[in-house]
């Protein structure tokens, strides 16, 4: 099994690492960089607890090899809040009590973060679809959707379309 030098930017910091051929990005984040906010719920791409942003796209980090992340820009849950200041999205999750056990939360936040990056005003239906890969057994999902909608509204209040009464 070979070891491969890669360079990867994680939450804005450039890292040079030697990773194994069969090492997943999830293992690299959790075990090499101790970024344990990203969770391992199934190691099979089924639950979404390990969702991270890779080059702007939300991906299950358990389904990506670390070597594939060579040159990539990664954002994990640890990269959202800056200096202890929650993002509008995180703040909305707190306000809407959209957190219970917290194990799916990092993945949900990342999927929602990626959604709002590409679509600042998602409809409720679009938000549900964006979260369909993130399983949660505690909340019943409605508050996750409410929180995302509220954060979107707060970040960029929707302006009435031309012609609206």
């Amino acid at each position: 099994m070979g070891s491969h030098p890669i360079t990867v930017t994680v939450n804005g910091a450039k890292e040079r690492l030697n990773v194994q051929s069969n090492e997943t990005l999830l293992q690299m984040l959790r075990e090499r960089l101790a970024l344990t906010g990203t969770k391992n719920g199934c190691s099979a791409g089924e639950c979404g607890a390990c969702t991270i942003v890779m080059n702007g796209e939300p991906v299950n980090s358990c389904m990506v090899l670390a070597v594939e992340a060579d040159g990539a820009e990664i954002v994990t849950v640890e990269g959202l809040a800056k200096d202890g200041q929650l993002t509008l999205l995180q703040e909305a999750f707190a306000e809407h009590n959209a957190v219970q056990c917290g194990f799916c939360t990092p993945g949900v936040l990342i999927s929602a973060h990626a959604l709002l990056e590409r679509n600042p005003h998602p409809t409720e239906e679009e938000t549900k679809l964006a979260l369909v890969g993130n399983l949660c057994r505690c909340t019943g999902y409605l508050r996750l959707v409410e929180a995302v909608q509220a954060a979107a509204e707060k970040a960029a209040p929707s302006v009435p379309m031309k012609g609206d009464a």
């Binding site: 959790r30 101790a34 970024l35 344990t36 906010g37 990203t38 969770k39 391992n40 719920g41 199934c42 190691s43 099979a44 089924e46 639950c47 607890a49 994990t76 849950v77 640890e78 959202l80 809040a81 929650l86 995180q90 999750f93 707190a94 306000e95 809407h96 009590n97 957190v99 219970q100 056990c101 917290g102 194990f103 799916c104 939360t105 990092p106 936040l109 938000t127 549900k128 679809l129 979260l131 369909v132 890969g133 993130n134 399983l135 949660c136 057994r137 505690c138 909340t139 019943g140 999902y141 409605l142 508050r143 996750l144 959707v145």
Partner: protein, 785 residues
């Protein structure tokens, strides 16, 4: 509802304050067991599992596994002969001589990496002699069924559980009230049906994980994701013969429990593996596949139930037999059958009752506690029969329930007087919420609209004397640390503990922090975080500890001011006198005390409050009749109503609204109750479509989250309406009782009743599926033709 962040919240009980764990959980800082860093000293373990549902182990050869470079130890049942269990000690830590389900661990391998350990488990050679297996409880109770536990009579068992050696029955609870035989002729309507539910899984997002360290000194530490740190200390210490003081169980945040992390599941295996490699922590982590095989499942149930009423709709008699498919080991499941026995009527006042509730061994995965502990299972049938009785006598199903539901002061089926509750108010709230009386049109011609209702009750099911304790200690600045042994599983236990301590002491909520992780070496005793008992039981202990501290503070200040403690109070962290109007901030005195006013010297010192709580009034029940003065501590009751549409072309259900209301006694944190209600409604809805499936040899077929689907974001109802009633509980803190499990107990039958309302078709067996509904519609069309 939204929760806003305040900086100073006085009198927090009854307010929807922000969760104390939310910042850590939103930033990735919250530590779960698998996140703890152990460094290069850490070893990893995997388990070798049985490929047979029932077999004798003739020989185990570990030599090839031991030759793999990096393997440090291989442990089998011969090295670890211990049995473990909560109520009936029937479960080996590693199988010895016999395996009783597919996936039972037969050996454990410890190695320097998880992949080496995994590779070596495949080299453990086991010679089996297959035995006939039995999978259905109704087959397992037959006299000629294969006997799964030939030495059932030799197991240690608590005094209120009654196994029947020589059979597969691990518990048989009997309830006899009145005389059912003479009541049947009085009935104008009788409905008799058989209902069935499959085994289902909790599917917490965090798989089970434990790290054990056995030190040369004999001290053992277990880091683990559990609802039961103290119960694990007790059960594992007894089982593995470790002095209790030498076993330290440390449990950080739990990523979902739902009963699946109650008692002892796989944790004892980690301890016996660590014993083989002293000085090295050993991590044992379940894969998602193993979650569906090697942890615990909700038990299956076959219910044969007959209920009758008179023409006015008064319930007269009920006869029921419950057979729980308990799986291979019933160490915890026996008490589920017992709970289903003493609550066998559901929330109804029925004068004549004959109930038998059994847990039955089968060669399937281990049955165990899951959210509701027997109640979702029995309500599935009861609540469908009640609807049919109402229909037969021409009464509105909601009215039928208002008339017959158990009421305050009723002598319930066990002979116990019902503590104050209000089922009827819950029925009113949910029927209002879904416009029960209004017949509504479906959204398309090929769709059918239906509404259904179901009510429930559930008592905390536990030994008579489960205790809670708490300690409160001040910091120099007047802020408070609350030490508890109750676990934060997502339900909000830490937040509620902080609210109660702040309220009882007179501090702003923000001054209180709850000390985690739970650590049996430092955290005060808590039986287990199960049974919806924490708000009530832990709450009482926290309140007592805070009141103890308050008394100490007031005594010091009163003596210093030469006043009467009764004239003093604490408001927002300041001691005030209503008589002299003097003030004394806590931060100046809770650690360093106060200088005496008239003389040299000091008074007081560090304030430490302690509190404990244990119910002392639960009695034994008669073996033959299940009668006794006080079967349980109390019941929580509630109602749910469902409004849905069925697509007759696909069988697909659209959930328009689920409305829930529960009698919580006192809402300590109203929005946290709503989060339980919403999550529970979806959990209940999802559970109606879930089933573990097995092949004819007892091998689970759907061992992944793709094959075993739980509800996702697109499956949820369009609206969930939550509400509560507050009938104070006599011995609840501020009147509060628990509601964590109740929120999903009656969801499945409420859905079934709504489907029947839409289609006129009843489903006796779970799981539901679009396919099943579609085929039932087709069958009806063919019958009509």
């Amino acid at each position: 509802m939204a929760v806003s962040e305040a900086t100073s919240t006085s009198d927090p009980v009854g307010k929807s304050v922000r969760r104390v764990d939310v910042f850590d959980k939103l930033t990735g800082a919250a530590t779960f067991t698998d996140d703890i860093q152990f460094g290069p000293n850490l070893y990893h373990a995997r388990l070798a599992r049985s490929p047979h549902a029932h077999a004798l182990i003739k020989r185990i050869d570990t030599s090839k596994a031991l030759e793999v470079p990096g393997v440090k130890a291989v442990v089998t049942g011969e090295d670890a002969p211990e049995l473990v269990g909560m109520y009936l000690v029937d479960r080996p830590v590693l199988a010895r001589a016999r395996v009783r389900y597919f996936g039972e661990p037969v050996a454990g391998v410890v190695a320097t990496s998880e992949s080496i350990a995994e590779e070596a488990t495949r080299l453990v050679e086991v010679e089996y002699e297959e035995l006939p297996a039995v999978f259905e409880p109704m087959d397992a109770i037959q006299p000629d069924a294969p006997l799964i536990h030939p030495n059932l009579g030799e197991y240690e068992v608590v005094p209120f559980i009654f196994p029947e050696p020589g059979t597969n029955i691990s518990e048989h609870f009997r309830l006899r009230k009145g005389d059912v035989e003479s009541a049947w002729p009085e009935c104008d309507a009788i409905v008799e049906m058989t209902f069935g539910l499959p085994q289902i899984q909790h599917v917490p997002l965090e798989p089970h994980v434990s790290v054990a360290l056995w030190e040369a000194s004999g001290e053992v530490t277990l880091w683990t994701s559990t609802q039961s740190p103290h119960a694990q200390r007790d059960l594992i210490a007894q089982s593995i013969d470790i002095p209790h003081g030498n076993l330290r169980v440390l449990s950080p945040y739990v990523g979902g429990g739902f009963g699946g992390k109650a008692g002892v599941t796989m944790e004892a295996s980690a301890v016996v593996l660590a014993r083989a490699v002293k000085g090295h922590p050993v991590k044992l982590r379940m894969t998602r596949e193993e979650e569906f095989v090697g942890t615990t499942m909700r038990q299956s149930l076959v219910a044969q139930t007959k209920i009758g009423c008179d023409a006015e709709g008064n319930l007269l008699a009920m006869e029921t037999e419950y057979y729980f498919g308990g799986g291979a080991y019933n160490d915890y499941g026996v008490n589920i059958a017992r709970a289903a026995g003493y609550s066998c009527t559901g929330p109804y006042d029925i004068p004549n009752v004959k109930g038998d509730s059994c847990s039955v061994y089968t060669n399937l995965p281990i049955g165990g506690p899951m959210r509701g502990f027997g109640m979702p299972e029995i309500h599935w049938g009861i609540e469908q029969i009640m609807d049919q009785l109402a229909e037969k006598i021409g009464m509105d199903p909601a009215e039928f329930r208002r008339r017959n539901c158990v009421k305050t002061g009723d002598t319930i089926l066990t002979g116990m007087e019902m503590p104050a509750i209000d089922v009827g108010a819950c029925v009113d709230k949910v029927t209002d919420a879904i416009d029960w009386d209004k017949r509504e049109e479906p959204s398309a011609p090929h769709k059918r609209r239906g509404k259904g209702i179901a009510i429930m009750w559930k008592a905390p099911a536990m030994p008579p004397n489960p205790g809670s304790s708490a300690v409160v200690r001040f910091n120099e600045d007047g802020t408070l640390n609350v030490e508890i042994g109750a676990q934060e599983l997502g339900q909000g236990a830490f937040t509620v503990a902080a609210q109660m301590a702040a309220q009882a002491l007179g501090l702003p909520f923000e001054w209180v922090r709850v000390v985690g992780p739970i650590d049996t070496k430092y955290s005060p005793y808590e039986w287990q975080t199960v049974a919806s008992r924490i708000t009530w039981s832990m709450g009482n202990a926290v309140k007592a500890a805070a009141e103890d501290a308050r008394r100490q503070i007031l005594d010091v200040v009163a003596e210093t001011w030469d006043e009467n403690p009764e004239d003093l109070d604490i408001k927002d962290g300041v001691v005030i006198s209503y008589r002299s109007e003097r003030e004394q901030p806590l931060k100046e005195m809770v650690v360093y005390g106060l200088p005496k006013e008239e003389e040299e010297g000091w008074r007081g010192g560090p304030i430490v409050g302690r509190g404990s709580f244990m119910p002392t009034y639960v009695t034994n029940l008669d073996f033959d009749t299940g009668q006794g003065p006080r079967a349980v501590v109390h019941y929580t009751v509630g109602a749910q109503a469902v409004d849905l549409e069925v697509d007759t072309e696909t069988g697909q259900i659209d959930f328009l609204k689920i409305a829930s209301a529960y009698d919580v006694g006192k809402a300590i944190n109203p929005d946290l109750i709503m989060t339980q209600i919403e999550g529970g409604a979806v959990h209940g809805m999802s559970s109606a479509f879930e089933a573990l499936r097995f092949d004819e040899r007892g091998r689970p077929l759907n061992r992944s989250m793709v094959d075993y689907r739980i509800a996702s974001a697109v499956d949820v109802p369009k609206e969930i309406h939550g509400d509560y009633v507050e009938t104070p509980l006599e011995d609840g803190p501020w009147g509060a009782r628990g509601v964590g499990e109740h929120v999903m107990v009656q969801t499945a039958p409420a859905i079934a009743n709504a489907i029947n309302n839409a289609l006129g078709i009843r489903f006796n067996n779970l799981p539901l599926s679009a396919e099943k509904i579609f085929l039932a519609l087709q069958e009806r069309e063919q019958q009509k033709a």
